[in-house]
Amino acid sequence: MKTPPTAAETRAALARQAAFAAADAAALDGLLSVRPPEAGPRPEPVWDEATVVSHEVVRERYRRLTLSCGTIAATALAGQFLMITVPPHGGERILLPRPMAIHRRNPLRGTIEVIYGVAGRGTTALAAVTPGQRLLVTGPLGRGFEFPAGTRRALMIGRGVGVCAVMGSVEDAEARGIRATLVASGRTRGSLIGAAECAELGARFIPVTDEEGSADLPALGALLRSEFAAGPPDVVFVCGAGVLTRLAAELGAEWGVPVQASLEAHMACGLGYCHGCAAPVRTDPAVEGPLVCVDGPVFDAAV
């Protein structure tokens, strides 16, 4: 008989997790709203068969999936996501495709990158995919991050794998001559995503971690205030934790700049027709609120 998940320790760990999730959800309360009309048209989503170019472990806890998928690589906007249909693995069937942020786009090579953590059944099955295999993907989907007109400096904040949702905007910043600062928050140094990407894209990379205490909200708030003491960024993009979104919204209010936050929700269609992905935005109860897949995943955030 397998030793059952041991009582005290497991419970403590789960309690931490649950407390974290609850704090996170609570932190978002009343913060979010749908942004005004988009500047340009969104790319048309397509389904396609992407070839797995590579699939490797990155940063201790994650896996990077590089997909050859010209249709999506050529059109995806920063902050958009795709739905990955997870192929059956040894008889295990995954019925719902999994939404994944588009971490990197390489339109020239026709590739995109996704980084994910192995969490439950879906990502466990996804981890079995091998290079050369074909994956059914649908994208690009959703409304991403948008730089307000005239942006010269931007702050991106990501927690854990949430860094991936903002990385496309760091790419855009580089292309548009916007100075980008990426704060990557995580449990340990070894788990942080983004250092190599920032080096490549010429963005400032600020790692903060729980183990060093630098990811604690007061410490991080102080760090950012001093980082931007000379002059605030023109916009803040954030993803990965409700508490970080709240901090960003508070800083945004102080600085008088807009904040955009990318959210997650359980999804089935990714296109707005299953109504599965209600966003935690308060609306008239008789009217359906915004959907994360089409009205987001990026929303305005303000205290």
Binding site: W47, R93, R121, H266, A278, A286
Partner: protein
């Protein structure tokens, strides 16, 4: 039962190049009351929207079915509205609806533009609630599907569709409002599917749809917290197929009107399973999420099988296998 086929190399190009249904010689057509459908494949309510028309050639389908429309606007359930467990998908979206007027103004034009006949799914909380909605929808729908079985709303109430008397009164009232075909979508958790189907037929329904998702309570591991906001959700996907197959078999034996099968259909083979126990048409729900082109692929494969076997239609195809 067979594995889901996966598209092969350049699937996308091949898929859009081939439009086998265009010059098809085989007639897969089916009638629901006075409504003639090009073929017997259509989406399940709530698992389709005009947005899917951006991904697939919806005009190859026999019909489109709207998400259930209620009379007045409704907001829907709190998150999580859906999740996946090993047994299948569980959803409790709560049927957000813009109401009949909102549907007509904002959604119907988009459904209509897709091409195939539009079957409008109608919901209500009491048996006498359906007729007013159908009245409000007027001639918009090419047919009306009465969702008497949505198990997501009442957390522990009894579905209208599990009570033959309630079905009869709901259908009879709707019959007075419209000449369009009426389809009654029955639930799984009823004491007797035969009695429910007979009640629908007796009151003037043109078809029954069997069935809806199966109410379930998924729990998170360890914490045992309900995995979806509404506690109870509807289980759908391939694991419910053997359960719904029996219900379709029983319904088809008990009424003369067509039976539309709905439950876990992913491939043409799954559809043929249902046809072989008496279904006349099929609805595809959960399968479209992972494989947006699933419905189109089913239509094309049915065509192809009939062509390969040089038979005139699906009935012959099944008889052929039966005869072995």
């Amino acid at each position: 039962m067979s594995e889901t086929p996966r598209p092969t190399t350049d699937a996308r190009r091949t898929f859009f190049a081939a439009r086998p249904t265009a010059g098809a010689t085989v007639d897969l057509g089916v009638s629901i009351g006075g409504l003639r459908l090009l073929n017997p494949v259509m989406p399940a309510s709530g698992c389709f929207g005009p947005a899917l028309g951006r991904l697939i050639p919806v005009d190859e389908l026999g019909a489109v079915v709207t998400k259930t429309v209620f009379g007045v606007p409704r907001g829907g359930n709190p998150a999580h509205r859906l999740t996946e467990i090993r047994a299948g998908m569980v959803n409790s979206v709560g049927i957000p609806s813009r109401g009949a007027a909102g549907y007509l103004a904002e959604l119907h034009p988009h459904y209509r533009a897709l091409g195939p006949p539009v079957i409008i799914s109608v919901g209500a909380h009491r048996p006498n609630g359906y007729a007013p909605v159908v009245r409000d929808l007027g001639a918009a729908g090419d047919a009306y599907e009465l969702n008497v079985s949505c198990p997501n709303l009442d957390r522990d109430g009894t579905d209208i569709g599990s009570d033959p008397d309630a079905i009869e009164s709901a259908v009879a009232a709707v019959r007075l409002e419209t000449d369009k075909p009426i389809i009654v979508k029955l639930p799984v958790l009823a004491s007797s599917i035969a009695e429910c189907a007979q009640a629908a037929q007796a009151a003037g329904a043109d078809a029954v749809c069997v069935a809806n998702s199966i109410p379930a309570l998924p729990l998170e591991a360890y914490t045992r917290a309900p995995a979806i906001g509404n506690v109870i959700g509807g289980l759908s996907g391939p694991s419910i197929r053997p359960i719904v197959l029996r219900l379709v078999w029983l319904a088809a034996r008990s009424v003369d009107i067509p039976v539309i099968a709905c439950g876990g259909i992913e491939t043409a083979d799954d559809a043929l399973d249902y046809f072989s126990v008496g279904a006349s048409a099929v609805q595809v729900g959960t399968a479209s999420f992972a494989r947006p082109f699933a419905m189109v692929e089913i239509v094309r494969t049915l065509q192809q099988r009939c062509t390969d076997d040089r038979v005139a239609g699906i009935r012959d195809l099944i008889d052929l296998w039966r005869a072995q």
